[in-house]
């Protein structure tokens, strides 16, 4: 039995509507009024009015908030399932209802509905299909039938031009996640009773945290179909229900299973997770020396660990209480097929992090030396990995040092330690920071702890090599 008293989930008077506060804005014979009532009754029966938030679509039902005494969020055209996702992922206990028409859901919002369904969002979607755009005045919808005349198909929908009507329930039924998909109709009293059940089921599914429920409701739009209320229901039964089969497509108990959430961390735990300890900020040590702005470029093959050794250098700069920047070779400056990192270490605020004229160039391979030799500042330093680079530095206005780093690293049993050897050599040579800083930082920046020891030996090797170095 369909009740005839006004459900409690409706406002008594529609004050938000303006004039005509006792009647709805829908056309005579429109199906929306019926669907609204079914939803309102379900809300009443379940006693969930306070929990309900409607996602108002764009279309004739943009004004759901005139009628439903619940929370409302008005959504851009077609995006209601995304908005619903945002609400539901924020308020676990809410009852989120996305109420959409055919243009909104099957046209402009196709991506949003498919993906919300595919994620199994725990929401209820009521899709009112009247095979036409109502609010904009009767244009073709994705669900308009072949041959159906609308304002934009004045000679009837032609499949070769307009494509075929889309069956949304069938389409969503190809997905794994939804728990409930049913196509209903408000064509007559019997079908309306079934619709009532389906609507209630969809909402209670959500309450029971079952997952995504979708109820498609075939509904008349007499005004745009250019019929009276009685004829339009007849047309609905004879035409829409023929093409769009009224039936339940899916009613399963469980949809997708959550693999659980991490607990909500408190402040202390959050700081720990982020590995930042604002509370016990170490007092800045005295800077070790005045260095001005010291610019380093480390360049080599992609696989030589150039970026990470650059980070190591920047970390040493930081640990020595200098300002420091690290910038990977990026975009427009990428030249000569080499990877390189720019590091600036300075006792003042650092301007450009881009090192175009390095004070020190570390050339780990031959193309790096070729590419960047001429960029080095006059009086600057070039450290060459002489195991790999056969060429000598040709400039006379810079100082060149040759370290057979790859060979030395191979002797230690870890080719990748070559750059660390050079970094130790660099530290001794420039004195920007003591080698001890490198030793302190190294273990912190190596993820795989089994490589710490060999890298420590690489530092020693670089230091020894410097001590014995003859120009």
């Amino acid at each position: 039995m369909i009740k005839h008293t006004k459900p409690n989930a409706f406002y008594d008077t529609f004050t938000r509507k303006g004039p005509g506060q006792k009647t709805t804005h829908y056309c005579p014979g429109c199906g929306h009024g019926t669907v609204h009532k079914l939803i309102a009754e379900a809300i009443d029966e379940m006693g969930i009015k306070d929990q309900v938030i409607f996602c108002n679509p764009v279309g004739c039902t943009t004004f759901l908030h005139y009628y439903f005494d619940t929370g409302h969020v008005q959504c851009p055209h077609g995006r209601a399932p995304a908005v619903a996702t945002g609400i539901k992922r924020t308020l676990d206990d809410s009852i989120v209802i996305s109420y959409q028409g055919d243009g909104d859901l099957a046209g402009i919002g196709m991506a949003e509905i498919v993906h919300a369904a595919n994620r199994g969002e725990n929401i209820a979607v009521f899709f009112v299909n009247n095979a036409i755009y109502g609010m904009t005045g009767g244009q073709m919808a994705p669900t308009t039938l072949i041959g159906q005349e609308t304002k934009t198909t004045p000679f009837g929908r032609d499949a070769t031009r307009d494509g075929y009507p889309i069956r949304m329930s069938e389409l969503l039924n190809t997905l794994t996640a939804p728990v409930f998909i049913e196509r209903c109709s408000v064509g007559n009293a019997t079908s309306t009773l079934k619709t009532r059940k389906a609507i209630k089921k969809a909402i209670s599914n959500q309450k029971n945290r079952k997952g995504f429920s979708f109820v498609e409701i075939l509904s008349p739009c007499p005004i745009n179909w250019k019929m009276n209320a009685i004829d339009s229901r007849k047309w609905l039964i004879e035409n829409l229900e023929k093409f769009y089969e009224v039936k339940n497509f899916r009613d399963v108990d469980t949809g997708i299973k959550s693999h659980g959430r991490f607990p909500f961390l408190d402040d202390k735990e959050l700081f720990e997770l982020l590995e930042v300890s604002a509370a016990n900020e170490k007092k800045a040590q005295k800077q070790l020396k005045k260095i001005g702005e010291h610019k380093v470029k480390i360049a080599g093959f992609g696989g030589q660990g150039i970026m990470s050794v650059g980070v190591l250098l920047a970390n040493c700069g930081k640990t020595a209480e200098f300002n420091t920047t690290w910038l990977p070779s990026y975009g427009a400056e990428m030249r000569g097929g080499t990877a390189y990192a720019s590091i600036v270490i300075s006792d003042e605020t650092i301007g450009s992090p881009v090192v175009d004229k390095p004070d020190v160039l570390i050339a780990m391979n031959a193309p790096s030396l070729e590419t960047f030799e001429n960029d080095v500042e006059k009086g600057g330093i070039i450290i060459v990995n002489s195991s790999i680079v056969p060429k000598k530095v040709t400039r006379k206005d810079v100082k060149a040092y040759y370290v057979p780093a790859t060979e030395m690293a191979n002797n230690l049993g870890l080719t990748a330690a070559a750059a660390v050897i050079i970094l130790a050599f660099y530290a001794k040579l420039t004195g920007v920071f003591p080698v001890d800083v490198l030793k302190e930082v190294l273990p912190l920046s190596i993820k795989n702890k089994k490589y710490v020891e060999v890298n420590q030996r690489a530092v020693d090797a670089g230091e020894t090599f410097f001590n014995e170095y003859k120009e």
């Binding site: 938000r16 303006g18 306070d50 309900v52 938030i53 108002n56 943009t62 908030h65 005494d69 929370g71 409302h72 969020v73 008005q74 959504c75 851009p76 995006r79 995304a82 908005v83 619903a84 996702t85 945002g86 539901k88 992922r89 924020t90 308020l91 991506a111 949003e112 991490f262 607990p263 909500f264 961390l265 959050l270 700081f271 997770l273 982020l274 590995e275 930042v276 300890s277 604002a278 509370a279 170490k282 980070v311 920047a314 930081k318 300002n323 420091t324 920047t325 690290w326 910038l327 990026y330 975009g331 427009a332 400056e333 605020t349 650092i350 301007g351 450009s352 992090p353 881009v354 175009d356």
Partner: protein
């Protein structure tokens, strides 16, 4: 102890400490690292990270989550932000707070992944349909990426607006040591949000108004809010401007290159300073007009054709010539190049 980290990482750290609980992301170079970092840290912290099916869906998830009272964010890059235009306009029209990071890349269209500052007009003027603005913060260091992300949520909640952090591929990719505040900020209950409870049941989040009076009212309220922002939150930084005859105006990565350039020029005896807007909307109009009186020229240095220069010109009301130095197509000038160009310009 400061932590050495990338700008893109710093955003996520700052946001979590700033009370962000929800991140709806969609990958795009060069902003994907923020989504990746968000996916790890938001999830691990028991907050929510969700990858949307598009930037359009992401911004609409933000709309939903913000309506429900959350501190919510996303990060993207230029074409993705353009696609969010619809949602940005709805957020503004509905007076919803959100934080959106834009790691700008080259355009138009697909452009490429290299840095540019060519979204200035789109972002500073609004970006979507209708009369509205975003608060636009322009960090120029990794520290500011963290700081601005931290305070963005407070600003967004206070003014019920979108705060856009307008950065670029360089600031996002570079590493610098960062220190963090000791306090985790939290969102308070908002009397306008829908919380799915009795108290908030009659709340309506909407941007539709059915009378001209209501439409005018809505825009008037927005404009009043924007005007107040000009008094409340304008931020800028001045370097060597006291005795300057010329100033460079630059934000983001351009201001970093410009800082070294003006030091170089100062060393050569040229009286030049740097003016760096930290807020692009509201723009530091008043201060620029004030200092323009004693200047011979202003040089706007941007990674675009001079979009901010238009705003500078408006601000200084023709009291001083505004010259435009622009690079685009992913080209970031070297200090040497910038110094040369400035010398030729002044």
């Amino acid at each position: 102890m400061k932590k050495l980290m990338k700008g893109n990482d710093a955003i996520v750290h700052g946001a979590l400490l700033g009370g962000a609980t929800h991140f709806f992301g969609y990958p795009i170079t060069p902003a994907s690292e923020i989504a990746q970092s968000g996916a790890y840290y938001f999830t691990k912290a028991g907050r929510t990270f969700l990858q949307a099916e598009s930037e359009l869906a992401a911004v609409n998830m933000i709309l939903g989550s913000a309506s429900a009272g959350a501190r919510v964010m996303t990060a993207s890059s230029s074409p993705g932000i353009a696609l969010m235009g619809e949602g940005l306009s709805y957020l503004a029209g509905s007076n919803l707070p959100s934080v959106i990071v834009n790691i700008q890349r080259t355009g138009p269209g697909l452009g490429y992944i290299w840095p540019e500052q060519s979204d200035y007009n789109m972002v500073v003027k609004g970006g979507g349909n209708g009369i509205y603005k975003n608060i636009v913060l322009a960090p120029n260091s990794v520290q500011e990426m963290a700081d601005f992300a931290y305070k963005a949520f407070e600003l967004a909640d206070k003014y019920r607006m979108t705060v856009m952090i307008l950065s670029d591929a360089y600031i996002g990719q570079m590493m610098e040591p960062v220190s963090f505040p000791a306090k985790v900020l939290k969102s308070k209950r908002k009397d306008w949000s829908v919380y799915a409870d009795a108290e908030s049941r009659t709340n309506l989040i909407s941007s539709i108004h059915m009378t001209k009076e209501a439409l005018v009212d809505n825009v008037d309220n927005l404009l009043a809010k924007y005007k107040k922002l000009e008094e409340d939150i304008v931020e800028y930084e001045e370097t060597s401007t006291d005795d300057a005859e010329h100033i460079v105006v630059a934000f983001g990565i351009s201001s970093r290159v410009a800082l070294t350039a003006i030091r170089t020029l100062r060393a050569q005896g040229i009286k030049i300073g740097l003016f760096r807007p930290k807020t692009l909307f509201p723009f530091p109009k008043k201060r620029l007009l004030e200092i323009s009186k004693s200047l011979k020229s202003i040089i706007s240095v941007e990674l675009n054709e001079g979009q901010m220069a238009d705003d500078i010109e408006l601000a200084v009301q023709c009291s001083v010539p505004v010259k435009r130095l622009g690079w685009y197509g992913g080209v970031v000038p070297s200090v040497t190049e910038l110094v040369d160009k400035i010398k030729k310009t002044i």
